[in-house]
């Protein structure tokens, strides 16, 4: 199996390392041609406004949207969730989310970097035992459409699944716990 990792900007390397450790071939996706032979796609954390512009300049916006809309499994973390959302709050006026995940998400919903935090999460689908939640200038999901909530932190959903799309507002790729990636990979095969 080959899983693409959007590699325009951000923590794409960490995702690729986790996938490789799970025996999956990780392909860095920087241009439309790189999407041709991947079975799934990971949208990493990073700066969503930068990624948004690079989606356009790299001519990836349309092919990526078409691939995910037609059912390619997609695992989005942090900024990746912002890219997929139907509505972005506190975004830039020219920020154009792909509208593939029916949520309203607030950028930097927990505050600035000094408010970034770690907190244990209960995630039923990965089994018993806390999952280390790493939240870095994390977005907050403030309205939820059709997706299923897989984890909450306080009163906000932090992990969603909607069809073949998984969205986490935290960073499983930084947590040294690959259970969530394993679940995603299992769904792809």
């Amino acid at each position: 199996m080959r899983i693409g990792v959007l590699a325009l900007q951000g923590a794409f390397r960490e995702h690729a390392e986790v996938l490789s450790a799970l025996g999956v071939e990780a392909v860095l996706v920087k241009l439309p041609a790189h999407l041709n032979d991947v079975d799934a796609i990971v949208l990493p954390g990073g700066e969503s406004t930068t990624q948004d512009k690079l989606l356009t300049t790299s001519e990836l916006r349309e092919p990526l949207a078409i691939a995910v809309r037609s059912g390619m499994p997609c695992f989005a973390t942090c900024a990746g969730v912002i890219l997929l959302a139907t509505e972005v709050l506190d975004g830039r006026p020219d920020q154009t989310p792909l509208g593939l995940l029916d949520i309203s998400v607030r950028r930097n919903g927990y505050g600035r970097q000094i408010d970034s935090f770690e907190a244990p999460l209960e995630i039923g689908v990965v089994g018993p035992g806390d999952f280390p939640g790493v939240f870095i200038r994390a977005p907050k999901i403030e309205r939820l459409g059709s997706g299923e909530v897989l984890a909450m932190h306080h009163d906000s959903p932090v992990l969603l699944r909607d069809g073949a799309i998984w969205g986490a507002t935290f960073h499983p790729e930084l947590s040294r716990d690959s259970r969530l990636h394993q679940q995603f990979v299992a769904q792809c095969s």
Partner: protein
């Protein structure tokens, strides 16, 4: 979950640096420049009163910027805002943390405040980036709590040669350490004047334990592609953007070249018609890179 969230952990401090990988951090001196930088796709801005080339020209003591100016930039952009304190000036760092600066740069571009000690960066919730010219310096900064290293280069010159020298020195020593036997690592620690445990960690990882970015002298898209290919994970551009003829297109071009650094066709495409790069300086009187111990 009842557990209180943990802030200021090494993982979240290093984590923000990991989120900035593959991006361009741009020096800005006011809200208008910050807006141009964000519009161009900067992944963060560095707020400072004078870009390094002006600090060079003006002389005098360079200090932390006016907090009101940094606040104006924080109010203008939604991307992370970094700001600089003087080497060893922990009180300036405390002020920057109190105003919610996302990354503090303990920077050699400002006049050093302490000739022996850098800031104890473990004592802060806000993460720090520090400059380094060689591996020993990088590891000493990491031992003091730095969560990101930037190769220093020679800021404000528009000359990439120092950045290349520093990157090659740091990465070359890492390659050598990776091949070293366990007993040779004791010798490396002594030679580098760096803690043994960090030398051993570098040997095991084959890289620094924190992200390494490049700064100092980047003026063109090809400069960014050069340092990224050498092994930098992101770039800081200071005077190179706002001291050029036409900052906005140049900023956009450097952002694209940093993402597509291995693709010469794209670097070619974005390099065309950008106007004059910053003039630059060949033999600077002040050498910022020599500051830091």
């Amino acid at each position: 979950m009842t557990d209180a969230p943990a802030t200021g952990t090494a993982r979240v401090k290093r984590g923000l640096a990991e989120m900035l990988r593959g991006g361009v951090i741009m020096d800005v001196v006011d809200a208008a420049q910050a807006k141009i930088a964000e519009d161009a796709g900067a992944c963060a801005v560095m707020a400072l009163e004078r870009v390094p080339s002006d600090i060079r020209r003006d002389g005098g003591i360079a200090r932390m910027s006016d907090p009101a100016m940094i606040e104006a930039i924080q109010a203008t952009v939604t991307i992370p805002v970094m700001a600089k304190c003087r080497i060893g000036h922990f009180a300036e760092a405390q002020v920057l943390q109190a105003m919610g600066v996302d990354y503090i740069d303990e920077s050699e571009v400002l006049s050093p405040a302490d000739e022996a000690y850098h800031v104890d960066k473990w004592a802060f919730t806000a993460p720090f980036v520090c400059g380094a010219t060689n591996l020993g310096e990088a590891l000493r900064r990491i031992s003091e709590g730095a969560c990101m290293i930037r190769s220093k280069g020679e800021a404000g010159t528009g000359n990439i040669i120092e950045a290349v020298r520093h990157l090659r020195s740091i990465l070359g020593d890492i390659r050598a350490i990776r091949q070293a036997s366990p007993e040779e690592l004791f010798g490396w620690a002594k030679e580098l004047r760096a803690p043994l445990d960090l030398v051993q960690e570098v040997a095991a990882l084959g890289e620094l334990p924190v992200p390494m970015f490049c700064a100092g002298g980047i003026a063109t898209p090809a400069d960014a592609a050069l340092v990224m290919q050498l092994g930098a994970q992101a770039v800081f551009v200071g005077s190179g953007i706002f001291k050029s003829d036409d900052p906005s297109p140049r900023a956009k071009a450097i952002v694209e070249a940093t993402t597509h650094y291995q693709d010469a066709d794209i670097v070619l495409k974005v390099s065309k018609g950008l106007g004059d790069a910053m003039r630059g300086e060949n033999n600077p009187q002040i050498r910022f890179e020599e500051r830091g111990w």
